[in-house]
Amino acid sequence: MNETTQIAYDSKVEGEVIVTRADAVVNWVRKHSVWPMPMGLACCAIELMASGGSRFDISRFGMEVMRFSPRQADCMIVAGTVTYKMAEVVRRIYEQMAEPRWVVAMGACASTGGMYRSYAVMQGVDRIVPVDVYVSGCPPRPEALLDAMIKLQDKIGRESSVKAIRGKAPAKEAEQKAEV
């Protein structure tokens, strides 16, 4: 019998096989299952709660699975003023999170110290953990936080994940330090 072997396009398996880059697949998976860890420190935590509430509903964007355990989360939302006393704790919790991990600095205090220019307040959480997205506002409105989370998804979508997995890309933290 005359057999033909198809080596490229096969209409029979159309829709079941998609040809793409490995990065795109990995990133697609990652960016749509961001599990945030609410690092609620101060006032911003209330707006963080509000964005989890029914009016703003963070679950529309697939990020409602708030996990208080850093082991189960992959994005830390630092919501509030980071004092020097708290800095140690924030860093330790960040270290407990599994790679890949991202950090969102929510609000002026977490980003730069904000209105608290004083002896007790760390002037920006980026001194101890690498920050991916900064959100302005004191506190930011829930919409601003949602926007930041969408921006974070975009950022995750652009990462070279496969290289990082195979150890060829520089570790994320070093990469960020270099950017600064």
Binding site: Y84, A87, R91, S118, Y119, V121, Q123
Partner: protein, 211 residues
Amino acid sequence: MEDATLVKLTETFDFLSVRASGDHSALNCPANKLFEVAQSLRDDFGFDLLVDVTGIDWDAASPRFSGVYHFFSTASHGYLRVVANCEDDINPQLPSISAIYPAANWHERETFDMLGIRYSGHPNLKRILMWDEYPYFPLRKEFPLAGIETDLPAPDVVETTQAKVKSAPMMGGPFVSTRSGPMSQAEPRARDESWTESEEKPTEPSDEAKR
């Protein structure tokens, strides 16, 4: 009502003197009699609620430190302020009244933490707001708002992040007039402009510390 209490108090304890006040009755009390007075205030005068304990640093004046106590009576609904000056300006000390009012326990720890007033007889006098190893008393007048560089309490975190307790940049305000000298100099400016983000903090004590 409040005046009657005040008269009775000064009659009972002749070492008490009336203190100038913008609102409530206020008394000056010698530090060594404070415990006795507090005991009597609770048991005999019905001041059953200790609402606040704090201290004031009078900077150059002597006595430099005062302890301020606010008592409230749930029966007469009146406040009483008692102020006790610390005799020693270098190592200020006051008797602890936490045995009478348990509420004083944390308040006294806070005052110790912020101003360095030691409370003798306190069951657990250690820092409450800052971490235990913090070397300064932030609310003393010579301490700059921006803070003084020192180490973070966790060595391992410091090792990975190289983070330090650094002075905060103050050039962004708030701007306050000094209200002295010609108008050109009295215009509002930040209290501590000794350094900015582009200019490193000088090692000499800043203007704030000298003030």
